[in-house]
């Protein structure tokens, strides 16, 4: 499943709350993704990572033109609204509390768009498979309140993957989870990506997470966001703790941290888990 996703000279401006002028959040960002790998978008909190991710997903904030100027291209075609090539997973997993795990994952198939494309039998088969894949095969009938945060995020991930998207956009999906659960979820993502390779764009402010998961790590500066750094990691996944402490990994980490500090002295926060 090949796909190309390209951002061309993306500028995003938001009107200031006091109504006087605009704040530039993203400044001429150009990026191209054409491999089905895991791409990490790293930057301090509030730097505009989520804004960029939403642009890729075609989800637009209300009342603001996105992007202000520039284009998002999917397979070379400009796209400026909702499209079904990408599915998103958010930090707030937005599961419906009144629906069971099964119904939450089946949820998108209740929409006209997917009803037309996927038969009921096929949809049910997919839900079953994806629930097994994310490690919730026997939790069909449970409600979100009966699940832990990690399990709820698995449901949200399953709901995105069940659509077999060519592009998976993840907006700090694991940052609200405990360290141990976060690690489990990262391992799960690696496993799922091997099973169902797609283009993943993963937004995080966690340097360790970026180095654990990424085939490619893009570091953004802040206010406005610009591409500060962009490099590949060739080390195969899953990456061991030994690699994480290797000179190569430590150098990458230092390189990113230096950039982030230079780009935003004293502003924003970066998390490094040891």
């Amino acid at each position: 499943m090949s796909v190309s996703l390209e951002l061309k000279d993306i500028v995003q401006e938001y009107p200031r709350p006091d109504g006087k002028g605009v704040t530039r959040v993203c400044d001429k960002i150009s990026l191209k993704f054409d491999q089905p790998g895991i791409n990490m978008l790293l930057g301090p909190s509030g730097c505009g990572k989520s804004t960029i991710l939403r642009m890729m997903g075609g989800v637009r904030p209300i009342g603001v033109r996105t992007p202000t100027t520039g284009t998002v291209l999917i397979d070379g075609k400009a796209c400026d609204g909702a499209h079904d090539d990408a599915a998103m997973v958010f930090q707030r997993y937005a599961n419906r509390p009144d629906l069971t795990v099964w119904d939450n994952v089946y949820f998108p198939f209740r929409m006209k768009l997917w009803k037309k494309k996927v038969s009921k039998a096929e949809a049910e088969k997919r839900v079953k498979e994806v629930l097994a894949a994310v490690g919730l095969p026997d939790k069909d009938d449970l409600l979100p309140a009966q699940l832990s945060g990690g399990q709820n995020q698995r449901v949200a991930l399953a709901r995105a993957l069940v659509l077999r998207p060519r592009i998976l956009l993840m907006d700090e999906p694991f940052s609200a989870l405990d360290a141990q659960i976060r690690q489990e979820m990262q391992q799960l993502l690696v496993k799922l990506h091997e099973m169902q390779p797609c283009l993943v764009v993963f937004v995080t402010h966690d340097v360790t997470e970026a180095l654990t998961l990424g085939d490619r790590v893009i570091t953004l500066s802040t206010q406005p966001a610009r591409v500060a750094d962009d490099f590949q990691i060739t080390e195969p996944r899953p990456r061991s703790g030994i690699w994480a402490r290797s000179t190569e990994a430590v150098k990458m980490e230092e390189r990113i941290l230096n950039l982030l500090h230079a780009a935003s002295p004293g502003m924003g926060q970066v998390r490094v888990t040891v």
Partner: protein
């Protein structure tokens, strides 16, 4: 040293027994005070009838052996019937309008200046207009209850919709929902518990307006029963009627709360 069980601690847990005991005690205390005031003739019986007189009046209203009839039952059935009719009308009109206002800022901008002011407007003052428009029959009473309740329900439904976190809407849109599908499948189901709260408030409002609705040309109903008793200076019956309305409103409230908890058990678990 801090005392967790001090009077002034909003977080002190009370056992259900304690809570019921204190509430029951308060009511009992009021009854005793009332009884004492009547027994000692502190207030004239035509102003404040003794509780036992009210009880007697209640028994008489509940079953009039001489005429083989229950005035109270007939009156209650009439009032409940009117409230039920207005209830159906209020839900059928109020919920769709509230949902549309909550889902669309544009519709809200158009309709809210037409609806919101009535929340603080004296709906009672509209009664003469209702009479002019709908006559003095049943439809006037039902429409009056409907107007009184729907102006509360609509803004509450709208607020319930707007209180749903935007993440649900964004997530549904991203999964491919049309805007209306996102409202119907993601936002509305999340708003339901608060919409149910709105329905409960609207019903309580109808119980407070029932006496007013039945002020004009009612031959039956609890409001009429009270008004009739007042005309004959039967204060004991006036009190009995008021107590019955309060009791019915309380029962309705508890019942609706119970139904709401059964329908949306997940609300408190979020």
């Amino acid at each position: 040293m801090t005392d967790d069980r001090s009077l002034w601690n909003p977080y002190t847990p009370l056992s259900p027994g304690q809570r019921r005991g204190l509430g029951f005690g308060a009511v009992l205390f009021l009854l005793l005070l009332w009884g004492a005031a009547a027994a000692l003739a502190l207030v004239g019986p035509n102003k404040l009838p003794a509780p036992w007189k009210v009880a007697e009046a209640f028994v008489y209203l509940a079953w009039d052996a001489e005429n083989q009839r229950s005035l109270l039952l007939t009156a209650t059935l009439w009032s409940v019937g009117r409230i039920l009719a207005a209830f159906v009308l209020t839900l059928a009109v109020g919920i769709p309008i509230g949902v549309m206002m909550g889902a669309s800022p544009k519709i809200n901008a158009v309709l809210s200046p037409l609806i919101d002011p009535f929340r603080s407007a004296p709906v009672v003052a509209l009664l003469p207009i209702m009479v002019m428009w709908f006559g003095i029959g049943e439809s006037m009473k039902v429409v009056f209850l409907f107007i009184g309740a729907v102006v509360y329900l609509i803004p509450m439904v709208r607020d319930a919709m707007q209180a749903v976190p935007q993440s649900h809407w964004i997530s549904a849109r991203d999964l491919g929902a049309t805007p209306w599908e996102a409202v119907r499948l993601a936002v509305l189901p999340m708003a339901m518990p608060r919409i149910a709260d709105g329905v409960i408030v609207a019903t309580s409002v109808m119980w407070t307006y029932i006496t007013v609705a039945e002020y004009v040309n009612a031959r039956e109903g609890l409001g009429q029963l009270i008004q009739n008793a007042r005309r004959f200076s039967a204060m004991d019956q006036v009190f009995a009627g008021i107590i019955v309305i309060i009791a019915l409103a309380l029962i309705t409230y508890q019942l609706m709360q119970f139904i709401k908890r059964r329908l949306y058990p997940w609300e408190t678990q979020q």
